[in-house]
């Protein structure tokens, strides 16, 4: 290799040093060598000035501590010095410190210095954890070796011998701190090479602990002592070297002591590392993938190491009994382990069994077992990947209460990628934008975490899911098509089909899985980009999504995906849009018979859920006969409201009419309960019209015991306030009307005329329409009436129905723009569907007349006025 000779004087000048470091980098000197060269330069410089100004003898020693002690000096690292002195020489101290430190400061180097006696060092080390740790790497640069020897001896006695447990506890506490502090989103996107999980601190704390606990001075000794396998050592050293090179270059690129790979630096770093942009992947994505891979290696290796040390130094409780879970697998001290790590070589089915036991018992895998899994991954072959037994276990793991932890272990051990090789493409795959804070593999596992939470948080919607294993598998695999350019959803759908076929799924399940993965962006794209009031578009969505269960699956996957992507992707703003879209499609899927079977099934599940809720809310003494309530009644109200209905019904005598009203957010809610009788609804609507109330929506039900439950949303047609409305008079008149002692017809005709003074009425009027459908419902004829939205129209419609002797069992009243669509579930006088075509026609004409005749009457009145 060609060597450039660089004057050591240049090296200490800030600008020159930067050029020198870059020159080395260009020559390919980038890893440890560069650190050592740098350290040697500084050593040389310091030793020279020390010798010039210090008299020979045992009075002083110049000691490098911390990273400089380890000879790991990055371009802008602090130079941590300890000037050790014999108390007898105190007088000369000031001039000496000046002579050594001032020139260093003048060059602009960051110098951390301490001037202490040996005793002071020992006292300070007790108080300052970082100083104590920095002392581990103490190295004599110049001066008295006997003074330095005294320090190391005393340090050893005070802090190492017999203090191994305490040291480990400190290390673990620091590690936990770091993990919490640097697990934040910004550090995922822009990793801190020093402090983040898998960074230099992890490496150092492993080396220090090995030194203190086992007396092992470096990585190679760790391997020789059996704490690392040769394979682990190789990977670890590679990772370490890579991280050193990154940090070297990062200091250079940032021009200061900066250890965080900021977004702005990532591209330049990628270029420095020789990556180039390709069609499918950017240079920076290649580079970051390397970074994440190596940090992952460090993180996993150090995790395993610390678990090992903890076990060695473990508390000496009396050994707990080993519990054998199944042949070859046991649990001990709350860890699942192989009875013998060699077993896995002859019994590859144990791979999945181990994770399965871990998932079902909630115990993590022992570190030796994890190591055994990683060391034997070559045994995960096609046979295992095609094994029905393994795939059944895998799916069973996905539907345990906490699959996230287990999948993380699967990913960390490498098993997940061996079992599903398609995963390799997305391992440590970074996406260079500010939205995706996780690498794709982590994001996928994180999605499982979110699904786990959604199972509780969205339990209503989750209740419609009959195939949770498909949902979770879709979560785990939805981005498996990434890393190869555009169209990852379609490519993913293709891949999951192959995966599912290999795992031996049923055709139906494969279909759902393919659908979910292929469309996992559909809802979030649509919610943002399409008009959610475009009925025709919503109808197309409904047709595409096919069933309420598929919609529920896709909705849950969409939320989990967004939440697992990053904080900028998910917020309640987007949640509100998505919920609106979900509900609109859901209602369409429910009303249109797109897939009768599945729809009925999931409605059944929903109703069952309500029944349980209602039963749970009522005191145990209240026996409820759930046969009274139809599913659609149960599905139309929240459980708490149903409970109120049940309580009211108990107090309702034969002749009584219950009339309740309350003010809700945008309208007033009225509840009327009574024994059903012919014409009840007509009278209620008549009274509402009489009191100037517009019906916005109504839910009309009759329980099997004949109790009518009519929940009506109204607003005032004359802008009366809630308190200004005369509710008492209204209640009284309702009683009279129901007892047939109030002349509704004549009162209304007088009343309504002045209200209908809308001059635009005639132009805006839409043609009235009435349809009678005997297919839509099994037991009832369904009558739909479209008419202009005007006060009293419901009275006219229900009165007409009543005149025909038709009983209304339930009704949906809804306004859409200027039109009212009223849906009535009815039977004729004999309790039969309206099948006779002649009667059907008569009824239709009658309804149309009722709607338009009333209009004429009023117009007549208006003309008279």
């Amino acid at each position: 290799m060609v060597q450039t000779v660089i004057d050591s004087q240049d090296f200490t000048g800030l600008r020159a040093r930067r050029q020198a470091l870059d020159a080395y980098w260009q020559q390919g000197i980038s890893g440890y060598t560069l650190l050592h060269k740098h350290s040697d330069f500084i050593d040389h410089h310091l030793a020279c000035s020390f010798e010039k100004s210090v008299p020979a003898g045992d009075g002083f020693a110049l000691v490098a501590i911390g990273g400089y002690g380890r000879q790991e000096l990055y371009p802008f690292s602090d130079i941590d010095l300890l000037l050790l002195y014999d108390p007898a020489q105190k007088d000369e101290l000031d001039s000496l410190a000046e002579a050594i430190l001032y020139p260093l400061w003048d060059t602009g180097l960051e110098v951390g210095h301490a001037v202490r006696t040996v005793d002071e060092c020992i006292v300070d080390a007790d108080e300052d954890f970082f100083f104590r740790v920095a002392m581990l790497d103490a190295r004599l640069i110049a001066g008295s070796s006997s003074l330095f020897g005294k320090l190391t001896e005393m340090y050893k006695t005070a802090y190492i011998e017999g203090k191994r447990r305490g040291f480990l506890d400190d290390m673990l506490a620091q590690r936990t701190n770091r993990k919490t502090q640097y697990a934040r989103h910004t550090y995922l996107l822009e990793p801190q090479i020093k402090e983040s999980g898998g960074g230099f601190r992890d490496i150092q704390s492993m080396v220090w602990t090995a030194q203190v606990v086992f007396g092992l001075k470096d990585l190679v000794s760790l391997q020789k002592a059996g704490l690392l396998s040769q394979e682990e050592l190789n990977r670890f050293e590679q990772a370490q070297d890579y991280l050193i090179r990154i940090r070297n270059r990062l200091h250079y690129v940032s021009g200061r002591k900066n250890d965080q790979l900021f977004f702005d630096h990532q591209e330049e770093m990628a270029e420095a590392f020789g990556f180039i942009n390709e069609k499918e992947m950017l240079a920076v994505e290649h580079f970051m993938r390397e970074v994440y891979t190596h940090m992952q290696t460090v993180s996993v290796t150090t995790d395993l190491f610390f678990e090992h040390v903890e076990e060695v130094l473990g508390s000496d409780e009396t050994p707990k009994a080993v519990k054998v879970l199944e042949p070859g697998i046991e649990v001990r001290y709350g860890k699942i382990r192989l009875a013998n790590t060699e077993l896995i070589k002859s019994e590859p089915k144990l791979f999945m069994r181990l994770f399965y036991q871990s998932a079902t018992t909630g115990n993590p895998l022992h570190f030796r077992t994890r190591k055994a899994i990683t060391a034997n991954l070559h045994l995960v072959d096609d046979k295992l990947r095609h094994s029905r037994r393994s795939s059944k276990l895998f799916l069973a793991i996905l539907v345990t209460p906490h699959p996230f932890r287990v999948l993380e272990e699967m990913l960390d051990t490498g098993f997940l990628t061996s079992y599903i090789p398609e995963f390799a493409e997305v391992e440590s795959l970074a996406q260079h934008d500010v939205y995706h804070i996780f690498t794709v593999d982590r994001h996928l596992v994180q999605t499982i975490n979110e699904l786990e939470k959604l199972r509780e948080e969205e339990s209503n919607i989750y209740a419609a899911v009959s195939v949770p294993h498909i949902l979770f598998l879709a979560g785990l695999l939805h981005d498996v098509g990434k890393g190869l350019g555009h169209g990852h959803a379609e490519r993913g759908a293709d891949l999951v089909r192959r995966i599912a076929e290999r795992m031996g799924f049923e055709k139906k399940d494969i279909g759902i899985l393919e659908f979910l993965v292929g469309n996992h962006l559909f809802l979030s794209d649509t919610a943002l980009r399409r008009d959610l009031e475009d009925e025709e578009f919503l109808m197309r969505c409904a047709t595409k999504i096919h069933s309420p269960e598929w919609l529920a699956l896709l909705y849950l996957l969409t939320i989990a995906d967004a939440r697992a992507t990053g904080p900028t992707v998910w917020n309640d703003w987007k949640g509100a849009l998505l919920l609106e879209l979900y509900l609109k499609i859901a209602l369409l899927l429910d009303s249109k018979d797109l897939s009768g079977h599945e729809q009925a099934r999931s409605a059944e599940l929903g109703a069952q859920w309500i029944r349980e809720k209602v039963a749970g809310l009522l005191p145990a003494v209240n026996k409820i006969n759930f046969d009274l309530f139809s599913d659609d009644y149960l599905l139309s109200f929240p459980p708490e409201v149903i409970v109120q209905h049940i309580t009211h019904a108990k107090n309702l005598g034969k002749q009584d009419v219950l009339f309740l009203h309350e003010q809700s957010r945008e309208s007033w809610s009225i509840l009327v309960m009574s024994k059903d009788r012919p014409g009840l609804l007509t009278r209620i609507f008549g009274i509402l019209a009489l009191h100037n109330l517009n019906v916005l929506a109504a839910k009309i039900f009759t329980w099997a015991d004949g109790t009518a439950v009519d929940a009506i949303e109204v607003s005032s047609a004359i802008s009366e306030t809630y308190d200004g409305q005369d509710w008492a008079v209204m209640e009284n008149e309702l009683h009279l009307a129901i007892k047939q002692r109030l002349g509704l017809e004549h009162r209304l005709s007088r009343k309504l005329a002045p209200l209908r003074s809308n001059p635009q009425g005639a132009q805006k009027r839409l043609a009235a329409r009435a349809t009678i459908d005997n297919q839509a419902s099994e037991h009832y004829s369904v009558i739909e009436v479209f008419s202009e939205d005007r006060i009293g129209v419901l009275y006219d419609i229900t009165k007409a129905l009543s005149d025909f002797g038709i009983n209304i069992y339930r009704a949906w009243i809804g306004s859409k723009a200027d039109q009212v669509v009223d849906v009535f579930y009815v039977l004729d006088y004999d309790g039969k569907k309206i099948e006779d075509p002649v009667f059907k026609n008569e009824l239709q004409q009658g309804l149309l007349y009722a709607v338009s005749n009333a209009k004429r009457k009023m117009e007549g009145n208006r003309n008279k006025n």
């Binding site: 943002l528 980009r529 429910d590 459980p639 945008e666």
Partner: protein, 112 residues
Amino acid sequence: MKKIEAIIKPFKLDDVKEALNDIGIKGMTVSEVKGYGRQKGHKEIYRGAEYIVDFIPKVKLEIIVEASQVDEVIEKIRNAANTGKIGDGKIFVLPVEEVIRVRTGEKGREAI
């Protein structure tokens, strides 16, 4: 100089941006906002469960233009964001005292 603030339906953002692009307006601030208005929040009951959305998601655009351009910009936004339904949004026009580009210190129309 005027500041035009437009509150529009989220799905109309692309249309509005494109329309403004056509008349040479490339820079604007876009934020996700929540609002109430005549199109109120709503409560839905689906399968027995209540879903309450107590705000309506909207997008807010902020654009600084010269006074002479105001009418044209408003016209473009209105055309692009109009669906004819409640909740299409609102446009506000506010006076702006000064505009300064942080990097160069340019002021006034140069800084827009």
